[in-house]
Amino acid sequence: MPTSLILDSLVRSLQAGSLYALMALGLTLTMAVVRLPNFAHAELITVGGYVALIVSMGVSTSVPVILCLAFIGAGLVALITHRAVYRPLARLNLSTYAMILASFAVGLILRYLIFLLVDRFDFFDKPVKVPQQVLIRTPDLILTSVFAWGVPTALLLMLALSVVLNRTDLGRQMRALANNPTLAKVIGIPVDRVHDLTWLLVGGLAGVGGALWGIYTTVNPLMGWLTLLSVFAATILGGMTSFAGTILGAYVVSFSENLLMQWLNFQFRVDFSFKPAVPFVIIIVVLLARPQGLTGLADSLNGLRRWRGPTG
């Protein structure tokens, strides 16, 4: 395979992997603390993308401002869905299937509200316009500032999340809730408040992921839905509730989608239209053959994983 192809798909893998990691960490957090496989997570990503687009068109083209507003916007939407739908339903003690259906319904409502809005103002497939410059230009590789925003921001947020989870009261309360909800209630953890803050954080992470995705490619109402199964694949590969596992899973997914796919295409002429099948195959294989995902592996790489999820 020519060097330029390798380098190009390597860059794409790193970039997509970092963004998947951001989005998937939110999903893992929901899975661990709220115990909900939230299919509406896709729409939180889309909301982040559209907040970024609108901010970049009307308010500011500064990347930190865009990302902050995307964090707040998507976080608020996540909080509203929790208060309006998930919390009342959870109090009825519905089955997991009913909660999955509810999350699908929430996703549909958000997605088609966005569709209506986008239709009205003609916002289909718009890139989030921010000033870009070329950082490195060699014959084999062109690295723009998009890369310099995406990857470090994602790494910084992962670090911040790890600090929140391991060093703050909120993080300790979240972990307690993840480990044993009943015990957490008994010892007086303010469950409602922790849930609210968790949802803000979940939405925020997804929103920043969506905003960066919008800078990296374009924004459209289906962007979240189209990345959702890759994000799910990352979370599942990480063993559903492990954060280090999720980050590792995100990079595994993106490297197989980009680098591996490029190699398959080059060696065996596998068409790129099969690319969406990669995360699907990962999900099925992991769920059937190794439901604990990479968590067992992470154990041996000592210190990578700080805490066990409820099922870990």
Binding site: L92, L101, F104, I109, R111, L229, F274, P276, F280, I284
Partner: protein, 348 residues
């Protein structure tokens, strides 16, 4: 704008019949046996793809013509051959549809019963739903990517219904509607008899308490495979009729949204009650048609407002309403009572 009332009614009833078959099959699997089949679109699409394959491979064989590549340079000739064969030789057309239904039911049933064994491997219940959902997307991506099958992203047209020999669109549509409704009625009667049989009670026992059913010596994995076989065969039959009704097979139709529509029918109508499934199918079909007509009407008025988007929001709101305020659906499942229950007048 004129709306042909008769044609609309026929289209509505045809769609209702097809939806009813699919809703009944999901109600067997989820309502009775408690299997969360979030991959319903997969089994429906098996039927549709089977129709695509038989109409392009089997039909030329039956009329004694050479096979033409349906997607490449001979696209137009192959389409012409299909449409002409169905129009000129009604007998062959019926034989072809009958064989398609049979093959689809067999393939769908086999795939369904095989897939049911994944339930043994998954760690948590809802993983099975996820595996099925993702499985349906895998097959969709593969069929879309592998172009010779049903022409990939372009889809395959000319998968027409067998009554076109009548040379009267309304009459042939009415005949097809009658066929669909007849199959739907058969499916309903079969499902009702199944519920009242010992097998039906066994399925309910499995749904309510799997360990107890196992402890009583029932083979739960085989039970699951059997109900998935029946349900998936029914869904595949529905898929053949769906594709033949549209006259078109495309991978775009069988995405996750398709599965959700069927779930809305069952959850709204009443989980575990076949009449509820029929009611749900009717409501969803009417809403579907109504929004489609509204959207055509609005476009004719020059409005940019897209009613199809509103349709999805409406369905989602209905689903949330049912989950929150009416968990048994519109027609709740009957409580299982025995003779002794009445004789001893035990309060439920």
């Amino acid at each position: 704008m004129n709306i042909d009332l008769l044609a609309t009614a026929i289209a509505l009833l045809t769609f209702f019949g097809i939806s009813a078959i699919m809703a009944l099959s999901l109600n067997l699997e989820y309502g009775l046996a408690g299997i969360p089949n979030f991959g319903k679109a997969l089994f429906v699409s098996i039927g549709a793809y089977t129709a695509g394959i038989t109409y392009t491979r089997l039909l030329p064989l039956l009329v004694g013509k050479a096979y033409l590549d349906p997607c490449g340079e001979t696209l137009a000739q192959a389409l012409d051959l299909r449409v002409r064969a169905i129009h000129d030789q009604p007998g062959i057309a019926f034989l072809n549809l009958g064989l398609t239904l049979l093959i689809a039911a067999i393939v769908g049933g086999l795939v369904g019963s095989l897939v049911s064994y994944t339930a043994l491997r998954v760690k948590e219940e809802w993983y099975l739903g996820l595996v099925l959902l993702v499985g349906s997307e895998v097959i969709r991506t593969l069929v879309r990517g592998y172009t010779p099958l049903i022409c990939g992203i372009n889809g395959l047209s000319g998968v027409t219904q067998p009554f076109s020999a009548l040379d009267n669109p309304t009459l042939s549509a009415a005949c097809f509607m009658a066929l669909v409704l007849a199959i739907a009625v058969l499916a309903y009667v079969y499902c009702e008899r199944l519920v009242r049989s010992p097998f039906g009670r066994l399925l309910k026992a499995m749904r309510e308490n799997e360990p107890v059913t196992l402890a009583l010596g029932k083979h739960v994995p085989r039970l699951r495979a059997q109900v998935m076989l029946i349900g998936s065969a029914l869904a595949a039959i529905g898929g053949v009729l769906f594709a033949v009704n549209l006259g078109f097979v495309s991978t775009n139709d069988y995405a996750v949204g398709f599965t959700l529509d069927i779930w809305v029918m069952v959850v709204l109508g009443g989980v575990g009650n076949h009449r509820g499934a029929l009611l749900g199918a009717l409501i969803v079909t009417v809403l579907n048609r109504a929004t489609a007509i509204l959207s055509i009407w609005a476009n004719a008025q020059g409005s940019q407002f897209e009613f199809n988007y509103v349709r999805y929001i409406l369905f989602a709101l209905i689903l949330l309403w049912v989950l929150r305020f009416r968990r048994q659906g519109l027609l709740p499942e009957h409580a299982e009572t025995t003779v002794a229950h009445d004789e001893l007048s035990v309060q439920p």
